[in-house]
């Protein structure tokens, strides 16, 4: 089943096009990895999937992205509602300093109007359990979110994201600021989460993509026009991408000759 369909998506920074028009589909309840060398626009494309890209001054995108049957780039679409349905976890673990662990998870729920203590308790515990963080933080729920370790903060961010039960979770290099043990924890968690959620993860680590993803999209930088522009060169099942790449550029990238 297809969760999202991207067609002719072209992100811009001001007048500069960052990535050549992208067409791809994202399968529901699978992990789709986006890999590629620095500057290929992989994060930019990811940020277009929940309209986070346009929050940067001067940034915009053309094309369409369908979430289910709704075009998230249709003129009457409210980006706030899209972001509520397509959650995002960032490279730097983000905890809200002035909120405790509990409120860090509850914040999205409160925005949706959930204020009953009992209801929140259940939802927060559920999200923290899903993020495999509950056992570590259940005694420090009233400590500031920033008191947790980096890996814990990243799982806290994931808990915050899944607490509002989005359709899709986007992760932008979620492990690049973490140590190997924390990384392993997150990877394990993602494999759990794909039972319920559609996951798209940008990673600079091909090993990580190979370990956890079902599908892989490879982006490369094209400099032939004199200006660097990213492009999607290949997308298929992860196994195919790594064992039998169709594009020579993919092959040289995964064999370590480029990037």
């Amino acid at each position: 089943m297809t969760a999202m369909t991207v067609s002719q998506l072209a992100p811009f920074y001001g007048a500069r096009q960052a990535v050549k028009a992208v067409d791809m589909t994202i399968d529901a309840q699978k992990i789709t990895a986006i890999i590629g060398p620095s500057g290929c626009g992989k994060s930019t494309v990811l940020r277009c999937l929940n309209r986070m890209h346009e929050t940067i001054i001067g940034a915009r995108a053309t094309g369409t992205v369908h979430l289910g049957d709704q075009d998230i780039y249709a003129p009457d679409t409210d980006p706030t509602l899209i972001r509520r349905r397509v959650g995002m976890v960032f490279q730097q673990p983000v905890a809200f300093r002035t909120r405790n662990v509990y409120e860090n998870v509850a914040v999205g729920l409160r925005l949706q109007g959930m204020n009953a203590k009992a209801e929140l308790d259940v939802a927060v515990e559920g999200a923290l359990r899903s993020a495999v963080l509950w056992d570590e933080v259940k005694d420090v729920l009233d400590k500031p979110g920033t008191a947790l370790s980096g890996g814990q903060q990243q799982r806290l961010a994931i808990a915050r994201t899944i607490a509002i039960k989005p359709d899709v979770i986007l992760l932008d290099e979620p492990c690049s600021a973490l140590d190997p043990i924390a990384t392993a924890n997150i990877e394990e968690l993602l494999l759990e989460l794909k039972q319920q959620y559609t996951i798209v993860i940008v990673t600079h680590s091909m090993q990580q993509a190979a370990r956890i993803s079902d599908e892989t999209a490879v982006f490369m930088v094209d400099t032939t026009s004199g200006q660097a522009i990213g492009e999607l060169v290949e997308k298929s099942q992860t196994l195919h991408v790594f064992t039998n790449p169709q594009d020579p550029r993919t092959e040289s990238y995964i064999s370590g000759r480029v990037g």
Binding site: T80, R83, Q92, L111, G150, I164
Partner: protein, 328 residues
């Protein structure tokens, strides 16, 4: 200086140049030291010059209700600056209460909402507001704002609501009083609070905004629930600096508050402030005790603004450092 192979022009022949560092350093230290000395002299001068009144009245100089510098046959002079202290606190409080929400709005608009190009232009305008000399606020207040405010607000309000709320009670005569002074002061401290708020908001890492947006927050929710709380300490610092300015503001108060020693509950009534009391009476002081009492008032003002400024700077510095320190 590190030992380096020296270029010809610096070697032996030019000893004056080479040894210039000692006097240079000495000179800068002495001049920098003179700033330290100046502050010490200022403090000592005021402490000494206020000694007479402080020993005669103690804390009563600030809390006593009667300020009566002229000795009469019936009573000795009394120096209790409570009317001035009260007027200072109330007018500064009005100023901060009026200015803070506006300044917060301006800071948010400049840092978060308006296009960068416009932000630069508007920031300049707001900072220009801070550059206008306070005496010009005074003139404008006296001739333009006070009559306007008097007719449009003070009189109608005092005649209606004023019957029930003593703070807003009449009668309103010239229109000079605490409320008007506070409002003009609010305009004066607006740029201080607004531009500092803008600066601390800009220091908030983008990750905080994005994380809030990513859980489906609207733009305003992002600002109000993520950005502003993150910069909380800095904003409080900005407000404290504004409060410090309002407390010490002399001209607007002198020209607009009415300079009356009578304590009235109404904010429309004339009052006086510490700074305007000093400005009005110090050059006319009738006795050394009078002079000393005025300097005590000035010393108290100095102390309070000092404490506020340092609290504020500490908070802003704390935010700066925390943000410069990176994430978490």
């Amino acid at each position: 200086m590190a030992k380096q192979p020296q270029v010809d022009s610096w070697s032996s022949g030019n000893t004056l140049l080479q040894h210039g560092d000692v006097p240079f350093r000495f000179g800068t230290v002495v001049l920098a030291g003179s700033v330290v000395a100046l502050v010490f002299v200022m403090a000592i001068i005021m402490v000494m010059a206020s000694a007479e009144a402080r020993t005669a009245f103690g804390f009563d100089v600030l809390t006593g209700q009667e300020w009566n510098p002229v000795e009469t046959e019936l009573a000795p002079p009394t120096f209790g600056a409570w009317p001035a202290v009260r007027g200072t606190l109330l007018s500064a409080l009005v100023a901060v209460l009026v200015a803070t929400p506006l300044a917060l709005g301006i800071g948010i608009f400049l840092a978060e909402l308006c296009p960068p190009r416009l932000s630069v232009a508007l920031s300049f305008l707001v900072e220009l507001l801070a550059a206008i000399p306070s005496v010009i606020y005074g003139v404008w207040g006296v001739f333009v704002f006070v009559p306007l405010f008097n007719d449009a607000f003070s009189k109608p309000v005092s005649q209606t609501v004023g019957d029930y709320i003593p703070w807003l009670a009449g009668p309103v005569a010239t229109g000079r009083g605490i409320l008007v002074t506070g409002i003009i002061m609010a305009i004066m401290i607006l740029p201080t609070i607004a531009s500092l708020t803008r600066d601390v908001l800009r220091l908030v890492p983008n990750t905080q905004r994005e994380a809030m947006l990513a859980v489906g927050a609207t733009r305003w929710e992002t600002i109000w629930l993520a950005v502003v709380p993150y910069a909380r300490a800095g904003i409080i610092g900005a407000v404290m600096l504004g409060l410090g300015r309002a407390l010490g503001e002399t001209m607007a108060a002198t020209m607009l508050i009415g300079n009356s020693q009578r304590i009235s509950e109404s904010l429309f009534a004339p009052a006086t402030t510490a700074a305007s009391l000093v400005a009005n009476e110090l050059t006319n002081s009738v006795s050394s005790l009078h002079e000393s009492a005025l300097i005590t008032v000035a010393l108290a003002l100095f102390g309070i603004t000092l404490i506020l400024n340092f609290g504020a700077r500490l908070l802003i510095w704390y935010v700066d450092r925390r943000m410069a320190g990176g994430r978490s």
